[in-house]
Subunit: 178 residues, 2 copies
């Protein structure tokens, strides 16, 4: 799908609500996907994102080595594929092929965008000092993409053990907060 | 409301979906509340939670000094009060009084629970090494409380500038993930 560039100042509005995300990396010439929910915004601009990636995951070693990834944000339509990516390992399968997801070239990093996701954030690791103790990577978002045709993206939020709450309605409350 | 104790192993299911939370502290004999969305689970059990609290916030200094707080999770009914707490400072007002919220005694920490919130997590700071650089505190949840009468809590998720998405319906997808 045709994506447009999103100003970096608006990235926090995508991640702050806590959606399940699919992180792509490329290592040894092979693109991979992992699914995670343990992430947080850490700075507005340039956007910094902290995320926990277990050292048991195939992605861990690749991210540590290549220091780049893409955070892809799926909507409800992709929930089953997001779970499938979370239940399998890139050590043994090609998840793009196995789950019929489309890799497209990123602008800055080698890891691919997942075309089917409504937003994609190209990232580099900027601080790995918390990796040894907490598996916690601090990423800077270098480039953000969004699908302008998706007017009401419904992201998913993991409540544990395969339960996911889907975004419901949106309300506006007058606020001075960013 | 009457809360029951929640096993610490189940805390991740409350925070992983990324709800807006209200953090309470007590400093100089005065309880305070701040609202935030920049948090992430970091470990299942004992539950570790990372959160960003800006050094501009009144809570920052109190948390740094007292090293304890409560993470209170509001539902949609409290959204306006959560925003009001986010738009004001404990330097100048008593938010419990101003917004008609009820402080109740925690079991372990001095900071109070917000009675109206459906879940409350008593926390201590276990790692402050990232505070100077990122305003990032790592908390351990010592005790968790939940309102068993709230069968379908609808939490809220900030999308920026006063837009909040409310939890919609929940789906189950067979998963091997915790």
């Amino acid at each position: 799908m045709a994506k447009r560039s999103l100003p970096l100042s608006r990235v926090y509005g995508l991640l702050e609500p806590g959606p399940v995300v699919m992180v792509t990396t490329t290592g040894r010439g092979q693109a991979n996907i992992m699914t995670l929910s343990w992430h947080t915004m850490m700075e507005f601009e340039p956007p910094l994102v902290g995320c926990v990636i277990s050292s048991r995951n195939y992605t861990f070693g690749i991210l540590k080595k290549t220091r780049e990834c893409v955070i892809n944000i799926p909507t409800r339509e992709l929930a089953e594929k997001a779970v499938a990516c979370g239940n399998t390992s890139g050590r043994t399968i090609d998840k793009f092929k196995a789950f019929h997801l489309t890799p497209t070239a990123a602008r800055i990093v080698k890891a691919p965008l997942i075309d089917e996701c409504y937003a994609n954030l190209e990232c580099k690791v900027v601080d790995a000092r918390m990796v040894e103790r907490y598996n916690f990577f601090i990423l800077e978002v270098l480039k953000a993409w969004i699908d302008p045709s998706k007017k009401d993206p419904r992201t998913i939020h993991h409540r544990g053990k395969g339960l996911f709450v889907i975004d419901g309605r949106t309300i506006r409350i007058a606020s001075r907060m960013k």
